[in-house]
Symmetry: C2
Amino acid sequence: MSETLASIGEFGLIHRIHKLLQKEKVHSPGVTVGIGDDTASFQPRAGYEVLVTCDCLVEGRHYLPEHITPLDLGRRAMIVNISDIGAMGGQPLYAIISLGLRADTLVTDVETMYRGFTFELKPFNASIIGGNITKMEDAIFINITLIGEVEQGKLMLRSTANPGDVILVTEYLGQAAAGLELLSRAQATEDLHKHPLVRSYITPSHRAREGQAIARSGYATALIDTSDGFLGDLGHICQESNVGAVVIQEKLPISEDLRQAAIELSQDPLELFLKDSDDYELIITCSPDNEAKVRSAIASVSDVSVSEVGRITDATGDIQLMLPDGSHRRLIPSGWDHFAT
Amino acid sequence: MSETLASIGEFGLIHRIHKLLQKEKVHSPGVTVGIGDDTASFQPRAGYEVLVTCDCLVEGRHYLPEHITPLDLGRRAMIVNISDIGAMGGQPLYAIISLGLRADTLVTDVETMYRGFTFELKPFNASIIGGNITKMEDAIFINITLIGEVEQGKLMLRSTANPGDVILVTEYLGQAAAGLELLSRAQATEDLHKHPLVRSYITPSHRAREGQAIARSGYATALIDTSDGFLGDLGHICQESNVGAVVIQEKLPISEDLRQAAIELSQDPLELFLKDSDDYELIITCSPDNEAKVRSAIASVSDVSVSEVGRITDATGDIQLMLPDGSHRRLIPSGWDHFAT
């Protein structure tokens, strides 16, 4: 019979997770107390600031168990947090995992999810140093607090874009939104899990290495990850930096996959690009004089494409889309709002 | 009509919380980025280690909404985390709050809960620097990650007790367990909220100041908070330190309130003392030569009572209770297990 949490208990599960993490043999520098005492502890590095972020995935809301394996779920939950650390220019270091699980959850599924966490942490030599497990009656949740570091003075903010700056984005946006729509419209018989847009939705690629390289270069003015979609996150930059933006429709990096999916979905690829989409790419602003240096900083660590899509303006809070005929259309950022929708 | 989260939305709620926290005017030292960017960040102090703990309260499991006000719920959620930082000898600094809320949750209730958080943080000049809000369909959860600091080399562990050490406990134990039983057996018409044992259960007193003083003194060998009950947490010390213990029944600090409640509940006060109880007191071990110095370190910051209740032995994992007639009874720690019960 398959073991469940009810059969091995909370302490039994913690013991199993502890053993699994020891087998994984990741020894992050600086940890002075790991799992097993009242708190974890670490020795921060001199000359570095500590970054802290927190994100939570809830079953049925942020993922559908029938569409994601426990391994991918673990990866995804960690990726969204790594992306936030990267968007500040930082390096992920230590994760604290708080799980709400049902009594009938399979122990092997939890173990596989932890393998997903460590799969994403290992490239950074980052590790899980603590957590909490509690019982839920209904929906499962995975709450991760991720701690990172960034060299003092190298922190990248969303509130520091300047009028005249160019706006750059990595790779293609709208991919995850289209992947999610393909999944939700699919028939039970279809296997979409290898579709590139569905993969983009399930296990997006964070750009933490690129974020770190941008921060180290010192040539960008503002940085944000696109967890609220292109328009939502460009909106955050504009609001927090007290600036506006003009975006040139023809320059928006819309992938061939997205154009194809838009036809299948009878949707406008531009709308899929602009709206809420969990792509975890980067929006970067910098002075036009420094664009080449920012591009070369990114190229030094990664082969992701970088597109210049527009300019920051001094029209506070105003985001304009320039259409192919030269006319303008005002864009209103919405952002993902869990409660209003 | 009362505002709910559905009516103001996630971003509306975050805005309200942000405003409330600004009004509270707590400026913790070291914060370089607070709420509002991809991550929070802080500058750690040279010569200090960083502590991280995480605890989650789930509605219906860790609290019953009909028995706790939003203010007390906020206080309780923060106290359990402060207690963990204190049990390592540390000072609480920064909190990250992750909430799972229903769409019909009242905005004023959330604001009042935040006042409960800050009520407990303020005495330490600690503040909320980040968080996450997500929608749940059923049970609400409150997940807090609390970050603290401790002077390098002063960290207090549960794994460092030595045979021959005396075992000390602060104040009275079993109080919260009795309070919870009184609450759960109460008739709807009874108002038990001012009953001292019920207060002990709803808003226990953490001993973080005492923990810090003990750590600074350098005279204790091991320290733990009693979040799993006296026996559960003494069991953790024994297991992690590879030691045993003898506990003297006549010396156990059983309050007059507890004796009275035990009669009402037809229970043995000793069992209430030993079993799972969320009292958040401290169990301290130290060499007999240093007991007076540990007591005086505690007395320098607090007037809590300190009782010597027994000795650490070299009988690994064996905990004996010495009865008034001099005979011994073996005690088996259980600890609170959410899934097995």
